[in-house]
């Protein structure tokens, strides 16, 4: 009998709490001896530091936030995800790449730029998309809630409701592409 390969399970969506709940469920579905843990966004603390920056430092744009998200993901891959996989353990990344791409696309960022930005991130073994609407604002909810709290509507280029609708549409299209049931988004 051959041992199962360690898996990288990506959980993406809009609402932070829903992503975390789905990540926990995904983790418990893995054999206890073969599971590592959940790699959450802001493991590097970049966004925590950003949230306490002086008010006169200026608000970040969506593009700046996405660069920081990618830097944080590089940290998570280096210290959490790749070491777990190297030990033969499965790991859940919540969120992973699709949340950030959907957020960027919803704010009008060019898709080719977003794809290139995350080229360093390995393709996950499994993808799960979760539904749920992001809270209006809030520092510790999830990446999307954080973005809503940090970026003005002008810089976001849309109302929060419009961004959520566009993210949902983008994630549904991605789910179709990945052949994940669309009703999960």
């Amino acid at each position: 009998m051959t041992a199962r390969k360690p898996e990288l399970i990506a959980v993406d969506g809009i609402a932070g709490p829903a992503i975390v709940a789905a990540a926990r469920a995904a983790l418990t579905s893995i054999d206890r001896r073969r599971r590592s843990g959940i790699s959450h966004w802001d493991a590097s603390g970049v966004f925590d530091e950003l949230a306490v920056a002086a008010g006169d430092a200026g608000q970040p744009s969506v593009r700046t936030l996405l660069l920081l998200y990618a830097a944080d993901l590089a940290f998570r891959l280096r210290w959490e995800i790749r070491p777990a996989l190297a030990e033969g353990r499965s790991v859940v990344a919540a969120p992973y790449v699709d949340t950030a791409i959907a957020f960027g696309r919803a704010a009008g960022i060019d898709g080719a730029w977003l794809t290139s930005l995350f080229l360093f991130a390995p393709r996950p073994t499994l993808r799960r998309f979760v539904g749920g609407i992001a809270a209006r604002a809030g520092r510790r909810g999830g990446f999307v809630e954080f973005g809503f709290a940090q970026v003005s509507s002008d810089a976001l280029g849309a109302t929060r409701g419009e961004v959520v609708n566009r993210m949902t549409a983008h994630l549904r299209a991605a789910a179709k592409r990945y052949r994940i049931p669309a009703d999960r988004v």
Binding site: G58, S61, T64, L68, A70, A71, A107, D154, G157
Partner: protein
Amino acid sequence: MPPSIRPLSALRRRARQHFTNGSGRRGLLIAFEGPDGSGKTTQRKLFKTWLKAEGYDVVTTKWNSSDLIKPIIKSRKDVHALSPEEFSLLHGADFRHRVEQVILPALWAGKVVIADRFLFTGLARDVARGLDLDWVLKLYQPLLWPDLVFYFSVSPGTSGKRILATRTPRFYEAGQDITDVEDPVESYQRFITRVIREYESLALIFNFITVDAERSIGEQHQQIRALFREGLTRPWSDWNADAVAEWLAMSGARA
């Protein structure tokens, strides 16, 4: 109106009109590039003083200096915690924030912006750290091209000699994150050789104006003045329309 349905083409047109209308001085972006120890900061200061005496409104922006991102980078550099990708992405974020908060507002207002290092610093250092040039260049999109790039060319030996005359190179400056050499001086020599090689390639690709930084300070300054005067007649680069349009869109179209 959101960017995806906001007429970006109209904002591009507006950018072109603003920078090419010919009435009064348009904003100018001038980058000073080169390895550590090439003397570009000395030249940047002399140039700024001269420009002000000539009646220009001048703004300076330095590499890794945004109030928002710099503290994040510093805390990670202090504990040597950055991988090449994180190093690159965080500097890209710092650059983007300065473009949006400092550089484009000043250019829009008709000022001269002097950049003490520009995105080419990120390209040279990140590629020297083993990252792919195309990937790094894309991080900086939408690209904002300077009107002039002065490249201060020195040999690795001169760079090392000038730096070591004043201090020991710091961990990332010495490239110790990738050379695995414990001695910062030896590591610096190896790393700066790679950085200079990348700079020399970029100088060819992007048509930098090369200043021989081994010449006297006075000679270099006179050369820069002359090149600046020649450069004044250059047309605004249409490549910059995307960067300006995105900035206009995110700032409520600068009503």
